[in-house]
């Protein structure tokens, strides 16, 4: 480990005063955020608030205009297999001719091109094991077009795990997923959080309150970062209007009791 790593060896991600632009328009600006190693960070915010943009900037998929990002002391784009990613399902072609097990195997590919590459026996065993972990082993020979939303998300998580990352980023892994699969995915993430750092972008506010350790609220700027209890001022800044809907009918309240509601 070099000196730079040593100074923040327990920081998974350090973001300082980050600005990311899309066509000259800042999507996010002034974002400073530290994610401790072992954390389980939930990022919420309205559509267009820059959640996906932030994840992609951390990975190095999109460049940033100013500021600084380091992941375990390294720059985005030079992270090797430290980091892995579950993209938004809607960005992928679900009719693409590939089987579940082939998708997971792509996670074992190395950066350097190997002519006539074939997956080894240990690659295949690893893929099988990961498919067991996420609970879709029996679907391994299926084409991805035959999967339900939940099964597809589980497959993407298995592929992300094949990288052996220290940090895993997930972009709405419970979108278009039924309630049962949703619970399975969250308990899987809880399990994974024992030995890896997780950053989760989600619209699922009830999940945020009951599963994640820390919370960040992003609406162009970082509105809030801290423990997973929102107050009304933060929600107002985030969504522009008071939303008390999000606390209804869920076992864990996101909001504290309103004073007026007494």
């Amino acid at each position: 480990m070099n000196a730079l790593n040593h100074t923040d060896h327990n920081k998974a991600v350090c973001i300082e005063n980050l600005m990311v632009k899309y066509n000259e328009t800042p999507v996010i600006s002034g974002v400073s955020l530290n994610v401790e190693s072992g954390d389980y960070l939930g990022i919420i915010g309205p559509n267009g608030g820059g959640k996906t943009t932030l994840l992609k900037a951390i990975i190095g998929l999109i460049p940033y205009a100013s500021g600084n990002i380091t992941v375990y002391g390294k720059k985005p784009g030079k992270l090797g297999r430290l980091i892995s990613y579950v993209p938004q399902m809607t960005t992928l072609e679900r009719t693409f001719p590939i089987t579940v097990s082939e998708v997971v195997l792509t996670g074992t590919l190395n950066a350097a091109f190997k002519p006539f590459h074939q997956y080894t026996k240990s690659d295949k065993e690893k893929a099988d094991e990961l498919l067991h972990t996420v609970g879709i082993y029996k679907l391994k020979e299926r084409m991805i077009s035959e999967l339900s939303g939940g099964e597809f998300q589980k497959m993407l998580i298995a592929r992300a795990l094949a990288v052996n990352p220290k940090l895993m980023l997930l972009d709405e892994p419970t979108a278009s997923v039924d309630a049962n699969a949703r619970d399975q995915i969250f308990s899987l993430l809880n399990e994974l959080n024992r030995h890896m750092t997780i950053i989760l972008v989600t619209h699922d506010l009830s999940a945020v309150s009951s599963h994640v350790k820390t919370l960040a609220c992003l609406n162009g700027k970082l509105v809030y970062h801290g423990v997973t209890e929102l107050n009304e001022a933060v929600v107002n800044a985030l969504y522009g209007c008071p939303i008390d809907l999000i606390a209804h009918g869920v076992p864990h309240r996101v909001l504290k009791m309103h004073e007026e509601s007494e």
Binding site: N23, K56, I59, G60, L61, G80, R81, I83, S84, Y85, P87, T91, L92, E93, F96, P97, I98, E102, V103, T106, G107, L109, N110, A111, F113, P115, F116, H117, Q118, Y119, M143, S145, R159, V163
Partner: protein
Amino acid sequence: MLLSILQYQFIQNAIIASIFASIVCGIIGVIIVEKKLVMMSGGIAHTSYGGVGLGYFLGFEPIIGAFLISMLAALGICFIKRRGGTRSDVVIGLFWSLGMALGILFIALMPGYPPDLSSYLFGSILSVTRADLYLMAGVTLIVVLVISILFHYWKAYMFDEEFAYLLGIKTAWLEYLLFILIAMSVVVLIRVVGIILVLALFTAPPAIAERLTKSLKLRMIFSVMIGSVFCLMGLFASYIINIASGAVIVILAASVYLMVYIVTSVKKSMRIKKSC
């Protein structure tokens, strides 16, 4: 009768050319269709007309001109695509027309009688020369090798480019390579179906194969076979009724695709009705 025409050298050349064309269009076509690069490939093909004109104007083999210009167009279009932005389709449309316009300009500037360009525009499989065959063989070999050597990487890139990037795979390099392969394939196909009709041979066999099999590798193999049938049938039709090979091949490809489409759609709707 069939055996007797097989003895002609030009028929033998045409058959070999058909096979080469089917191989490249089958393999590259599947990728183009899956990656939704059909219009960009059309842009590359049409721009190559400028190269044909340049060849005539400067007095070198027009197909070499097409090869060079389509290569430049491929790199340019790939660059624009990678830069993103909402205007990339506009730029590709401009490339498309500009290439053709330059071709017309060069031919007009050329001294002497203007050559007959319809063989480049609509294909003329019966006039394929030995030299053409060598070029086509070389390109086909390169396409097959590049795709099979990196097959798993292509698959990862095609399914999820961003994830491939995250793994450290050089996706930009793969993409430029793919566009170069498209440009090379265009050159092979020009002799068989012509610049204007290239798109049909890139799209129809993969689209039919898509309805027959779900595996990527089989889809490529089926496309090659379907393409060969079209090209060979087109070749014989063009020999017998003396029409540009490209036109016959494209009409055949499009009608078969339409038929397959109708049959599978009817089957599907019947299945849905049954399950209701």
